[in-house]
């Protein structure tokens, strides 16, 4: 019944509003520190791999396409297609996390995890990091005080992407559960509410990334 869809999707929207405020606190912090420590943020963002970041954005956008396709399949009662869409979304979510893991791992290797043997060497002495130095040869060495503020950038980077990744993990777990149920035909009998509401959640997580991507990766890429 329409009423039922309405009620739960309204509840889902309210939940998403709480999520907006949840990430809102992070974005607010980011904004303040970015204004304070702009040079540090620029230099630190050059440490992120734009290739992996862009790839991840694309992965999420495609998964954001397969998800409403899944809803459409459920609407039009195509069970096989629904399962396929959900599986695709599931796999894309995993791909995203895999790429994210690779990025995190690189940060760990480079001592860019806050407090974890954090090193400002790449910023006080760009030549010590030949890879990034080649891409951004004009990056001047930061004075030590500014270089230290890159730790705040990475703190925010891990907090924001970490919270986002946590949402992805929760989403993927629910997806797994949904695939299981979809194969039993649970959503192709007219009950699309669950799929639809999960879609809303999944898109929200996507939107968060749409903002994280330019804010964290694209601060100032021109050399």
């Amino acid at each position: 019944m329409e009423h039922q869809v309405d009620t739960t999707s309204f509840a889902m929207w309210l939940f998403l509003v709480t999520e907006i405020m949840f990430f809102g606190g992070l974005f607010c912090s980011y904004l303040i520190f970015r204004n304070w420590y702009y040079p540090a943020f620029v230099a630190a963002s050059h440490q992120l791999s734009i290739k992996e970041g862009t790839a991840n954005t694309a992965v999420l956008i495609v998964s954001s396409f397969t998800m409403p396709m899944g809803v459409w399949c459920a609407e039009t009662r195509r069970k096989g297609a629904l399962v396929l869409c959900l599986c695709l979304t599931f796999v894309l979510g995993l791909v995203f996390l895999g790429i994210k893991y690779d990025e995190y791992h690189e940060k760990y290797e480079k001592h860019h995890v806050p407090s974890w043997h954090y090193s400002t060497k790449a910023f006080t002495d760009p030549a010590s990091d030949p890879e990034v130095h080649k891409a951004y040869p004009d990056d001047k060495p930061l004075p030590l005080d500014m270089a230290r503020h890159t730790e705040v950038y990475f703190g925010l980077y891990f907090a924001m992407t970490g919270m986002h990744a946590l949402h992805m993990i929760i989403g993927i777990s629910i997806l797994g559960f949904m695939i299981f149920r979809a194969r039993a035909g649970a959503y192709t009998n007219g009950h699309v509410t669950f799929v639809n509401n999960f879609g809303l959640y999944w898109h929200f997580v996507d939107i968060v990334w749409i903002f994280l991507y330019p804010l964290l990766y694209l601060i100032s890429r021109h050399a």
Binding site: E2, Q4, V5, D6, T7, T8, S9, F10, A11, M12, W13, L14, F15, L16, V17, T18, I20, M21, G24, F27, C28, L31, I32, N35, I50, T54, A58, I61, V62, S64, F65, M67, P68, M69, W72, I170, I174, F177, R181, A186, N189, G190, V192, T193, F194, N196, N197, G199, Y201, H203, I207, I210, F211, Y213, P214, L218, I219, S220, R221, H222
Partner: protein, 125 residues
């Protein structure tokens, strides 16, 4: 009239759990408006293109406008996702109002916090 409990209904996420009345079991509880896959494909295409654009633009030096353009494109992409993928374009006023209230309060959080940070340097504190 009694509440029928779906076994899968309890999820750690608000709203994802739901209940059906026993007499609603075979009613088609579809959305108000079924969006055709063509729209989805178009939107996804635009989103991918915009991603490429925003990445490319960041390599061009526009001064402060780098941030402006990046955020503008992000907002544009987010709006597309919200309007089409999340069906807000076809949703009730209530949904729109809910979304708006969240964004409004986010604006309040930013604006009033900045009212402290931006005016600290006026005069001696």
């Amino acid at each position: 009239m009694s509440v029928h409990n779906d076994s899968h209904a309890m999820q750690p996420h608000g709203g994802t759990g739901h209940d059906h009345d026993a007499n609603e079991q075979d009613v088609h509880d579809s959305l108000n408006h079924i969006v055709s896959p063509v729209v989805y494909i178009t939107i996804a295409g635009i989103l991918l293109v915009m991603t490429a654009v925003t990445a490319a633009v960041s390599f061009v030096d526009l001064g402060v406008f780098n941030a402006v353009v990046a955020l503008f494109i992000a907002c544009f992409k987010a709006s597309l996702v919200v309007l089409f993928f999340m069906h807000v374009k076809y949703s009730s006023k209530l949904t729109k109002l809910t979304l708006f209230s969240g964004l409004f309060l986010f604006g309040v959080l930013i604006a009033l916090t900045l009212s402290d940070y931006t005016t600290r340097a006026w005069g001696r504190w």
